[in-house]
């Protein structure tokens, strides 16, 4: 009975995800497409839970539905009217589309089959062996900040590059909301801001021994920042050159580099923490990475270089 119900649930979830993905690409109207994509992200989080990947589910829920949704919706608001509709969308050139579709389906199925037929991968055993020496109990956190910390270093680097790229394109493309939609918004922002702080800290703390950690926490904090920004708060971060908040953008990258190279001073290799201090290293890097990811994601959502000073005209 239970197994049957679970299979039915999986089938329903898969069907919904496919339908939403189709809607995101082919639905009438960009707004509908973007909303479909956001719901797709939320349901993907459920799929991650079903696939025993709760860490991924947390990040997907905060980023996929929160940050990406905010990005896409604010972009939609900034597109000129004439550009919003794409009338020929649905009648994409028939034959070519069908051919392409067949080719893509064939290719994707072939790839998936090959991947499925390959011997079961697994670094699971290696990770389990290294876990006691890593300094944390959650294997995903151990991989992210110790065993494969190099990946995380580069990832934060990519995020920083993305912020630099968007800021380099010019000043903000969507300013603070033109008017506060309702007096309820600041009240809501005031109420929710402490919640975001507390829950992010909680997720960060949990990362040491259970699903959670710097990425979901950073994403949550970033999403919270975006929310209070749209509720009418003036951000701390500005475009001014010597703005101390701007240093937070590179805090994660700098902290990780210092940790990576710093251990070299004691004759170790890149990211090889002293075993008895590993927990401390990870703790410090997690806090730095979470703060940095939060502010990087927030900076991305600004859509360009913020003004030198958030003037009072922004809150009108």
């Amino acid at each position: 009975m239970m197994a049957w119900a679970i299979t039915a649930f999986d089938a329903l979830l898969v069907a919904l995800l496919l339908w939403l993905a189709w809607q995101a690409i082919h639905a009438d109207g960009l707004f509908r497409a973007v909303i479909s994509f956001m719901v797709f992200g939320l349901l993907m989080a459920v799929a991650w839970v079903r696939l025993d990947a709760p860490d991924v589910a947390l990040a997907e829920a905060a980023i996929g539905a929160g940050v990406t949704g905010a990005l896409l919706l604010s972009a939609l608001g900034r597109l000129p009217e004439r550009d919003k509709e794409a009338p020929a969308d649905r009648r994409a050139r028939g034959l070519a589309a069908v051919g392409l579709a067949a080719l893509a389906l064939g290719g994707a199925t072939a790839l998936a089959t090959i991947a499925w037929a390959l011997p079961a991968p697994g670094l699971g055993r290696e990770v389990t062996e290294a876990l006691p020496k890593s300094g944390v109990d959650n294997p995903v956190t151990a991989v992210l900040l110790n065993i494969r910390a190099f990946d995380t270093l580069l990832e934060i680097g990519v995020l920083l590059l993305a912020v630099i790229a968007t800021w380099a394109l010019g000043p903000m493309q969507w300013s603070a909301p033109a008017r506060v939609m309702s007096p309820a918004l600041p009240v809501l922002g005031r109420l929710l801001f402490p919640m975001f702080v507390l829950v992010s800290a909680y997720v960060l703390w949990r990362g040491g021994h259970a699903p959670g950690g710097a990425f979901p926490a950073g994403a949550l904090m970033g999403a919270g920042g975006v929310l209070v920004f749209f509720a009418g708060a003036k951000p701390w971060i500005t475009g001014a050159e010597l703005d101390p908040w701007r240093w937070l953008l590179s805090l994660g990258l700098v902290a990780m580099l210092v940790a990576a190279v710093g251990v070299g001073a004691t004759g170790r290799s890149f990211f090889e923490y002293p075993v008895d201090l590993a927990g401390l290293f990870i703790l410090a890097l997690e806090v730095a990475a979470a703060l940095s990811i939060a502010i990087l994601l927030f900076a991305l959502c600004l859509g360009g270089r913020p003004p030198h000073r958030w003037g009072s005209e922004d809150e009108a």
């Binding site: 939609m181 309702s182 309820a184 918004l185 809501l188 109420l191």
Partner: protein
Amino acid sequence: MTALAWVGASLVALGVPFFLLGTLGLLRFPDVFTRLHALAKADNVGLGLVCFGLGLHSGSLAHALKLALIWLLMVIASAVGAGLVARAAIARGVKPWGV
């Protein structure tokens, strides 16, 4: 299962129809305002019953409080959200149906 767990499970079962009816209202009601009525009110009670039921089912005070917190946040979000959507609709010149 203990008696508490049974009560919890039946509360969860009682909550689910509210979600279904709220969603049905979204489909059956004619305009954005009436749909907001259906969603905000039905989901508030539906989630409340589900969270309360799960809290009883878990048998742990901390779990129950956490679920209550989730419900509280959701109630705040849906009350404020419904008001925002209604306000935005009026600002865009949407006329209420049947008025």
